[in-house]
C-alpha cells in the first residue's frame, strides 16, 4: 500500500535505442493504473524499471516517497505477476507460493497459514502438491497471483498476465482480478496491450506509444475525449473511422462536409468548438462505428454507401462499407434496431444510406493529430 | 557484376541463377573483408576516443576533486580510507604496495632486460679455489621473456586499478554531495553475491584463462620473433635473441640450407585443408544417413542400433585409434583376414609409402576417421531430425514430393541451416585434429623429398602434428626449433580465423536467423 511516483524516467538501451522518454506519473495509494499501448511502446520497460529488473537510465522512481533507483528488486517490497507466469518448474505449487516467505525466513507455521489462505481465495487448494506442469493455464495464472499475494507488498505489478490465456478464460480471469483487487486493496500497476482489459480494469489508463505517454485519464475520459488521433484509434473496437474533411463555421453553427453531405455539429462538441473559437478549415474527422447510423435517403446528411462485408456478431452487425469515392467505413448497428426485411437486405453490394451523429464527432488537426478541443 | 532485382532473378534460368549466386558469393568476399577492415578501424577509432575521454576525466577529476581525491592520485585508496570505505581503501593500498615491491625487487630487472633478452650467456669462469675454469650460468632469456611479459600484464593491471581508484573518488564525491551514504565494506561484500555476483563468478575462471591460455599464447607469439630452440634454450646452452621476421622468411622461402620450407608448408597446408574437408563432410553426410536409417519409420530395434554406435564414443579414443592403427599394419588382423579369405596373396602395407605419395595412408585415415566420427554425427543428426516439424513433411507429401525430394528439399536444408556453425567449428577442429592423425600414423609415411625440413615430415602430417614433431624431436643439427613451431602456430591461427571469418559471414543461420523458426 503505497504511492508510486515516476519523475522524468528514461530508458536508453546500450545500442542507443530510447525505449522510454521522460515518463512522469503520480500513482496514488490503492490506485489501479493500467499501462496500455501497442507492442514496443515501452509499457513493459516502464513496469520493469519500477520492479528493478531494468536499470533506470534517467529520472527517479519513488515508492512510498523513497527513491528506489539503486535498490535491488528484492529490497523494493513489490510483487509481480509475469506474462508466462514464471512458476518454478521444479517446485510444487505450495513451494512456489512459499518461496518468497522462506527467503524472508518466515516461520513455517506462518507460511502454512498464508499459503493455504491465498490458495483458498484463489481456489487452488486441491493442487497445492502438484508441480506447475500438471496445471492448466488458468490454474498456473492463479498460482502466479497467489505467489504475489502472500508477500504483503506495497505495490502489485502485473505484466500482461492474461495474454497467454484463451478468450473465454481471459474474460473470467479479468473478473477475478477485479475481485482480487477489492480484497487486496493495494496499489496496482497493470500492463496490457488489450484496450478492453485496460478499460474494464483501470482506475486510470496510461496510453503509450514509442516511449511517450499519449494520454493519462480515466476510461471515460480517454474514450470520450481522446487527446490525439492515436488514442482515439487505439481505444474502442472496432476502430474509429477517420476521414479528411472540412470543418466550416456558418453563423453560429459548425458543419462538416464528408462526401458532399453537410452534417451539423451539435451537442456538447458543438458547444466546445464554439467556446474554443475554432476557426475551421481542413480537419481529420473521427467517428466511432457505433456513431454512424442508417439514414433516410432523403435526409440532408445522408451519405450513399455500398455494403462490402456484413459481419454478424449476434447483438450487433459490423458493416464494412465503401462510399462513392472508395473510402472504407465500418458501421456498427445493434441488431435490435433493424427490421427483419432490413436485415435480409444487408448483402454484399447492397446500397445503403448512413449519416454521422453530430454530438459525438472528434476533430483532429491534420498535421499534429491533436484533438482540436484540447 | 550486374545486380539483379528479386523479380529479374526469378526470371533467370536455373543455370544462370546458380552462376549468379556463385558470382555474388565471390564478389561478396572483398566487400566482407572491407567491412571487416572498416569494423577494425571503427574499433580503433572508438578505442582512441575512449582513451582521450578517460584522460580528460582523470584531469578534470583531479582539478575538481577535494584534497582526499588529490592524495589518492599518489596513494591509492587514500580517498576511500578517508571517507570510511576501509575495505576498498585497504585493497587498493595493498595492491599498490605489492606492485611497487614487485617492480623494485624483480619486475624492473626483467623489464629492462626484455629488449635484449639477456646480455651474459653461459660461460666459464676461473675459480680461484679449485684453480680451474668452471661453467657459470648467466642471464636466463626464457625467464626474461616470460617475466617480462608478466610484468607488462601487471603494469596494465596496475594502470587499470589506478584508474578505477580515481573513478571511485569521483563517484564517492558525487554521492556525498547528493547527501547519500557511501557503501560500507559489508555492503560491498554483500553485493558480491547479488548485483555484482558476476564478478565473483568470473574471477577464478578469468584468472585461469589469463595465466594458462592468454599468457602462453602471447609468449609463443613473441617466440616466433626469436631464435629460441632446444639449442638456444636461453640458459643452459645459449641465450636467445630477437630476430625480427626472419623465421617467417624461413617458412616462406624456397631454399634455406637446402630445405624448401615454402613447398613443405604448402604441401602440408594443402593436405590439412583436404583432410579437414573430407573428414568433416564424409562424417557429416554419412552420419545423417545412418541417423535417417535408424530413425526411419518401421525400423525396429532403434535403441539397439543407437546403443551399439554410442558405445564406441565411450571408449577413450586413444585406445580405439591405437588398436585400429595396429589392425591395419603389415602383420595386423585386417591383413590376416584378407589373406585368410584369399582376397590378397600378399599383406597390404596400409601405412607404408607404396607409391611415394602416401595416398593409401591418406585414404585410410579418412576412412578410419569416419569410423570414429559417425557415432557423434548420428547423435547430433538424430536430435535435429526429431525436431524437424512433422507438418513440413506432411505438406510436402500433399504437394507430391517423393522420398528423395523430401530429403533434398526439407531434411538437408534444415540440417544445413541448423548445423551451419557446427560444420564450421568441426572443419576448423579437424584442421587441428591431432589425435586421429598422430595416433593412427604418427604423420607417416615419411616424405623423403622433404626430409631436410625440421620434424621429419610425413605424408599424413597436419600442420598441428608437424608443429608437435618440431617441438618434440626437431632436426638433428638444430634441435627442437621452437621458433619454427611458433611460426606455424601463428599461421594455423591465421588460416583458421580467415576461414571462420569468411564462412561465418556467409552462413545462412547467421544471416537469416528466422528462416526455419
Amino acid at each position: 500500500m503505497a504511492s508510486v511516483k515516476l519523475t522524468n524516467v528514461k530508458k536508453v538501451y546500450d545500442n542507443n535505442v530510447v525505449a522510454v522518454h521522460d515518463f512522469n506519473l503520480d500513482i496514488k495509494d490503492k490506485e489501479f493504473v493500467v499501462f496500455v499501448g501497442p507492442s514496443g511502446c515501452g509499457k513493459s520497460t516502464t513496469l520493469r524499471m519500477v520492479a528493478g529488473l531494468e536499470e533506470i537510465s534517467g529520472g527517479t522512481v519513488e515508492i512510498d516517497g523513497e527513491v528506489v533507483n539503486d535498490l535491488q528488486p528484492k529490497d523494493r517490497n513489490i510483487a509481480m505477476v509475469f506474462q508466462n507466469y514464471a512458476l518454478y518448474p521444479h517446485m510444487s505449487v505450495y513451494d512456489n507460493i512459499a518461496f518468497s516467505l522462506r527467503l524472508q525466513k518466515v516461520p513455517e507455521d506462518v507460511i502454512y497459514n498464508k499459503v493455504t489462505n491465498a490458495a483458498e481465495i484463489l481456489g487452488i487448494t486441491e493442487y497445492l502438491m502438484r508441480k506447475p506442469r500438471a496445471l492448466s493455464g488458468g490454474q498456473r495464472q492463479r498460482v502466479a497471483i497467489g505467489r504475489a499475494m502472500v508477500r504483503d507488498s506495497k505495490v502489485f505489478l502485473m505484466d500482461e498476465p492474461l495474454s497467454n490465456l484463451d478468450a473465454k478464460l481471459r474474460n473470467q480471469m479479468r473478473a477475478e482480478i477485479i475481485l482480487l483487487r477489492q480484497k487486496l486493496d493495494t496499489t496496482f500497476i497493470y500492463v496490457t496491450h488489450d484496450q478492453t482489459e485496460a478499460m474494464t480494469l483501470g482506475d486510470r489508463i496510461v496510453i503509450m506509444k514509442d516511449g511517450y505517454i499519449m494520454q493519462v485519464g480515466t476510461p471515460t475520459e480517454v474514450f470520450e475525449m481522446p487527446e490525439n488521433l492515436f488514442v482515439a484509434e487505439f481505444i474502442g473496437a472496432p476502430k474509429m473511422n477517420v476521414l479528411r474533411t472540412n470543418l466550416m463555421k456558418a453563423g453560429d453553427k459548425y458543419y462538416v462536409t464528408p462526401f458532399g453531405a453537410k452534417l451539423v455539429v451539435d451537442g456538447e462538441k458543438g458547444d466546445l468548438l464554439k467556446k474554443k473559437q475554432v476557426a475551421g478549415g481542413e480537419v481529420l474527422l473521427g467517428v466511432r462505428p457505433e456513431h454512424i447510423v442508417l439514414a433516410d435517403p432523403k435526409d440532408e446528411g445522408a451519405i450513399p454507401v455500398t455494403l462490402e462485408v456484413n459481419e454478424m456478431m449476434g447483438s450487433e452487425l459490423h458493416l464494412h462499407v465503401y462510399t462513392e469515392d472508395g473510402t472504407r467505413l465500418i458501421v456498427r448497428i445493434p441488431t435490435i434496431d433493424l427490421t427483419p426485411e432490413q436485415r435480409e437486405g444487408m448483402v454484399t453490394g447492397a446500397k445503403l444510406y448512413v449519416t454521422f451523429e453530430g454530438k459525438v464527432m472528434h476533430f483532429f488537426n491534420p498535421e499534429t493529430e491533436k484533438n482540436l478541443l484540447f | 557484376m550486374k545486380h539483379y532485382s528479386d523479380l529479374e532473378y526469378l526470371q533467370l534460368s536455373k543455370g544462370k541463377r546458380f552462376g549468379y549466386r556463385v558470382a555474388s558469393f565471390f564478389t561478396g568476399i572483398p566487400k566482407a573483408l572491407w567491412n571487416f577492415v572498416k569494423k577494425i578501424g571503427n574499433i580503433l577509432k572508438n578505442a582512441g576516443l575512449a582513451v582521450a575521454n578517460e584522460a580528460k576525466d582523470i584531469v578534470s577529476t583531479f582539478v575538481q576533486g577535494d584534497w582526499k581525491t588529490k592524495v589518492s592520485y599518489l596513494v591509492m585508496g587514500f580517498g576511500c580510507l578517508a571517507r570510511g570505505q576501509i575495505l576498498r581503501g585497504l585493497l587498493f593500498l595493498l595492491f599498490e604496495a605489492v606492485f611497487i615491491g614487485y617492480m623494485i625487487i624483480t619486475g624492473g630487472y626483467y623489464l629492462s632486460m626484455l629488449p635484449s633478452l639477456g646480455k651474459v650467456g653461459p660461460h666459464t669462469e676461473y675459480n680461484a679455489i679449485l684453480d680451474v675454469d668452471v661453467p657459470v650460468h648467466g642471464d636466463n632469456s626464457f625467464k626474461i621473456l616470460l617475466y617480462g611479459v608478466l610484468t607488462i600484464f601487471f603494469i596494465i593491471a596496475f594502470v587499470y586499478t589506478w584508474r578505477v581508484n580515481v573513478k571511485q573518488n569521483k563517484i564517492a564525491e558525487q554521492i556525498l554531495k547528493s547527501g547519500k551514504k557511501l557503501k560500507s565494506g559489508k555492503d560491498d561484500l554483500r553485493s558480491l553475491v547479488d548485483d555484482q555476483f558476476h564478478k565473483t563468478l568470473l574471477a577464478l575462471p578469468s584468472i585461469g584463462i589469463l595465466i594458462f591460455t592468454v599468457m602462453p599464447i602471447v609468449f609463443m607469439i613473441l617466440v616466433a620473433f626469436t631464435n629460441y630452440s632446444s639449442i638456444n634454450d636461453g640458459y643452459e646452452t645459449n641465450l636467445f635473441h630477437w630476430v625480427g621476421f626472419k623465421n617467417f622468411e624461413t617458412i616462406f622461402s624456397w631454399d634455406v640450407g637446402g630445405v624448401n620450407y615454402a613447398a613443405t608448408f604448402g604441401e602440408i597446408l594443402t593436405w590439412t585443408l583436404l583432410w579437414a574437408f573430407f573428414a568433416t563432410f564424409t562424417n557429416y553426410f554419412l552420419g545423417i544417413l545412418v541417423a535417417m536409417m535408424i530413425n526411419k519409420k518401421g525400423i525396429h530395434l532403434k535403441k539397439v542400433w543407437r546403443t551399439i554406435l554410442i558405445m564406441t564414443i565411450a571408449i577413450p579414443q586413444f585406445i580405439s585409434l591405437l588398436y585400429v592403427s595396429k589392425m591395419f599394419t603389415l602383420n595386423g588382423l585386417f591383413n590376416g583376414l584378407l589373406l585368410d579369405l584369399g582376397i590378397t596373396k600378399q599383406a597390404v602395407d596400409f601405412w607404408g609409402n607404396t607409391d611415394n605419395s602416401g595416398l593409401l595412408a591418406r585414404i585410410m585415415v579418412i576412412i578410419i576417421n569416419i569410423w570414429i566420427g559417425i557415432p557423434y554425427l548420428m547423435l547430433i543428426a538424430t536430435g535435429i531430425l526429431m525436431n524437424i516439424p512433422a507438418d513440413l513433411y506432411e505438406s510436402a507429401k500433399i504437394d507430391g514430393a517423393s522420398g528423395w525430394k523430401q530429403f533434398s528439399k526439407i531434411t538437408l536444408p534444415y540440417m544445413l541451416f541448423i548445423t551451419g556453425p557446427y560444420l564450421l567449428t568441426s572443419f576448423t577442429g579437424n584442421m587441428n585434429n591431432f589425435n586421429v592423425i598422430y595416433l593412427l600414423t604418427g604423420g607417416g609415411p615419411t616424405n623423403a623429398v622433404r626430409s631436410g625440413a625440421s620434424g621429419s615430415v610425413g605424408f599424413t602430417d597436419l600442420l598441428i602434428t608437424w608443429l608437435f614433431k618440431i617441438t618434440t624431436s626437431g632436426s638433428s643439427d638444430k634441435g627442437s626449433e621452437y621458433y619454427l613451431a611458433s611460426v606455424i602456430g601463428i599461421l594455423v591461427f591465421l588460416v583458421v580465423s580467415i576461414i571462420s571469418l569468411i564462412v561465418y559471414g556467409l552462413l545462412p543461420s547467421v544471416k537469416n536467423e528466422e528462416d526455419f523458426q
Binding site: - | Y323, D340, L467
Partner: protein
Amino acid sequence: MKKKLPLGAIISLILGIIFVLGGCFLLANRFMPEPLWSYNSAYLTDNFLFILFGALAAFIGILLLVYAFSSFKRNNVDNEKMKQHMGMKATSRISNTVIYVLLILISIVWLVPFICIVIQSFRIQPTGMTRYLFENPEAGLKEGLAIKFGFDNYVRLFTQTQFPKWYLNTFIIAIIVAVVQTIIVLCMSYTLSRFRFKLRKPMMQFMLILGMFPGMLSMIILYQVLKDLGLALDNAVPGLILVYVASSGMGYYVSKGFFDTIPKALDEAARIDGATRAQVLYKIILPLSKPIVIYTVLSAFMGPWGDFVFARYISNGRIGAYNVAVGLQSWLATTTMAMENYTMFCAGGVIVAIPIVILFMCLQRYYVEGVTGGAVKG
C-alpha cells in the same frame, strides 16, 4: 479382445535362440580340447572367423532375445492397427530389408575392433602383434588346438608393470578435474547467460579468438613454467590438473546454450521474491539444469582419460607420472616393444574402457542431450 503375439517378436525369439546357441557352439568348439565339430579348409582358419563370428552371433542373438522379450511385455498392440499396416507397400518392405542389412553391417564394422581387443587381451601366446586373434593356425592345428588363453595379461598388468600407478594417476586427475571443471564451467556459463555487463560481448569474442590458436602451442612454455613450479616430470599429476582446470572456462558454450533456454522470467520472479543472484543460481537454475550438470561432469571426467599430448609432454619420460594414454601408447611406441606388450596393451585398454563405458551407458541420456544441444547452438 484377444491379444495376439506379434509375428516379429516370435521370429526374433527363434532367431535369437539360434544365434545364441550357434555362437556359443562356435566359441565352445574352438576352446574344447577335442573339437566337437571338425572342419577343414585351406583359407578359413579357425582363429579369426570362427571366434569372431561366434562372438558376434551370440551378441546379436542376445540383442534379438532382449527385443523379443521386451515386445512380449508390451504386447498390447492393437490388432486393427496391425492390419492397416499390412497394406504397406512392398517397396517399403524391400527398402526396410536393405536398411536392416546395412545396419547389421554397420554394427559389425563398429563392434569388430572392440570384440577383437577383448579377445586378444586374453591371448597368452604370442604376446606380440599377429594376424590372428589367438595363435598361428598351422601350429594350432598341429598342437591339437591347445587352449592358449587366460588371465595372464591382466595379472602381469597389475603385478609387473606401472599400469596400476598410471591408472591411479588418471583416476585422481579425472575426479578432481570433473569436480573443479564443472564448477568453473557452470560459473562461467551462468554468468554469460544471465548477466549483462559491459565486458560480456568482448569477453566472448576474445575467447572465440583464443580458441583459434592451436592449444598445443602453449605446451612448451607451460612445461617450463610447471617445471619451475615443481609440477612437471615426476610431479606431473598436480601440474596436469592445473593445466586442465585453468583453461576450462573456455568450454562454457554448451552449458550456456542450455541456460539460455531457461526463461529469464524465472530469475526475475525469484529476484522479486527476494532472492539474491547467488540464491537464484543454486535454488532455481541449478535444480533445473540437472542434465547439463551431468553432461559437464561426464565430459570433464572422460577428458583426462584420453589426453595424450599434454600428459606426455609434461611427464616427459618419467614413467611413474604417466597417465594411461601415455603409458599404453609407450608400449606400442616401437615395433620391438609392440611385439612384447601387444596383448598387455589390449588388456590395459579393456581395463580402462570398462568403467568408462559403464558410467557412460548409465548417463547416456544426458550426454546425448548435451551433444545435440551443443551442436544446434553452434
